[in-house]
Amino acid sequence: MAPVATPFFFYLLAGIMLIGGILVITRKNAVHSALALIVTLLAQASIYLMLYAPFVAGVQIILYAGGIMVLFLFVIMLVSIERSMKERQFNSQWVVGIIAATALGGLFIAVFTKGKNIFPDHVLSVVEDNNTQEVATLLYGQYMFAFEIASLLLLVAIIGAVVMAKKRI
């Protein structure tokens, strides 16, 4: 099969992601921002797919676009849009923002110009046909401990949320 990881697709998807990201922070209507964020997340899932990581792409769609964003929208819709539309959008941390942005941009430029030795010099072998199985073997074999710690953390977070939200259990 012809490879799908062509520069055209990468630039297309990256462009969609950038536009979506800009729309997220510039829209006044919170629901429109959330929808733009969904577009960004879907484009990101497509990039994973392009990089021969179908499992990550599928999980991205299910968790972010299908699960978390629905809950986001759920909450945003209960907020009165009319009032928040009239409110002035403010940002009092632009100094910190500019510093962070220049630092990150400088890092990117530095990596792009001098970072020839950071990256492996050949493309890793892609396991497209049994991608899911490979992910499972790594996750439940080599990285078992880290995986379990992460799930324990999430469990603590869930219980904490329930305890904080409910006055009387």
Binding site: M1, A2, N29, V31, H32, L35, I38, P54, F55, A57, G58, V59, I61, I62, A65, G66, G67, M69, V70, L71, L73, F74, M77, L78, E128, D129, N130, N131, T132, Q133
Partner: protein, 425 residues
Amino acid sequence: MDRIIQYIESYLGSDKTPGAAGNMFWALVYIMLVFAGLSVAVIAMNWLERKILAHMQVRLGPMRVGPHGLLQPIADAIKLLLKEDIMPSEADGFVFWMAPLIVVLAAFTVFIVVPFGPTHAVTDMNIGILFMLGVSSLSVLGIVMAGWASNSHYPLIGALRSSAQMVSYEIAMGLAVVSAILMTSLNAEGTGTLSMIGIVQAQQAQGEWFIFKFFPLGLIAFFIFAVAMVAETNRAPFDLAEAESELTAGFHTEYSGFRWSLFFLAEYSAMIAVSSIAVTLWLGGWLRPFPNLLSGRIWDLAFSLVPGITFLFFAAICFYNTARMPKHPLFRVQTIGLAGFGAVLGLIGLVLFIPAVSLRVQDIFWFSSKVAGFMYMYIWYRGTFPRYRFDQLMQMGWKVLLPMGLGVLILTAGIALLQQTIWHP
């Protein structure tokens, strides 16, 4: 000309899906066929639902447009297309416009991976079932957007109910699906698969549909999925998102004409999609029934005749009713039309008796008839069960189905581990 025929023949004899063969043209042909088949199925479902519901309630149902109301769905479609398309003036235009598109797109895209047969799928993905669950979960976005953009109370309540319901039932559904996927790993290598075709092939290799596997665990997982899928598609008795008595029509109250018909189309094709997940995971997909009990060449031959006989049976019903049509001259066109319809069905039946054709398409027949069984169940539920209250619905999802799903998953994993290590070391 010879080359064209050779090309088509080479494809008809191929043992790969168009996606696996990397053939863009045949993939397009398959997409068109699936799209056309789905549209016909939705039209048929519309007629059948009204007819079956009517007979359950001792009514006749549609009788006026065409013989036994057979042309009623077409009349409805024309009405919907000609109707004025209204957008509320205070609505959020862009979101209002996007919502039905997203719902339809999500409902139809999942059919890319539905395996109608070992070669009859548009493509086979490594993450097939994950893709289906993920993309079909996007349809809730469309529903939420529709409810919010209408800028009206009932649609908003309907959308909120619908999203809460779908997010909660997705968890129970996912647990049931995982326990079925676990069963695919019971082979020599010990690795399972998420690919839709792979799941059916695993059932074929193990000689057992997963509904009967580790009895009753497979059955319970199937039951959880069967309940959750009704809730996922917002159908009775879980149709709180569009409860007529409380919310007029729920999230699509403000939609009319063509946009409304898109919601309708999406609802029915989503029903078909989740039914095909259930068929693929638990009911052996395209495999014919009783593969072990009634095995052997004679039974294989007998079962390969079933598709043709079914169509001939439908044709016979048409001819019987043609004979029973009123003899009044005003009914002449309808009588001829019904006889013609019967003749077409009979012709399809006869074509299906040709061994080459029947070998190639009987898997599609078995898959579709299993899905059709589910569609009948949907109508049956709607005709018999009263609607749940919302707190009862949530209680059912979180306190009954979720613990049951967890229990089934743990037990399945435990038994599978025992089987892999102790009984077959």
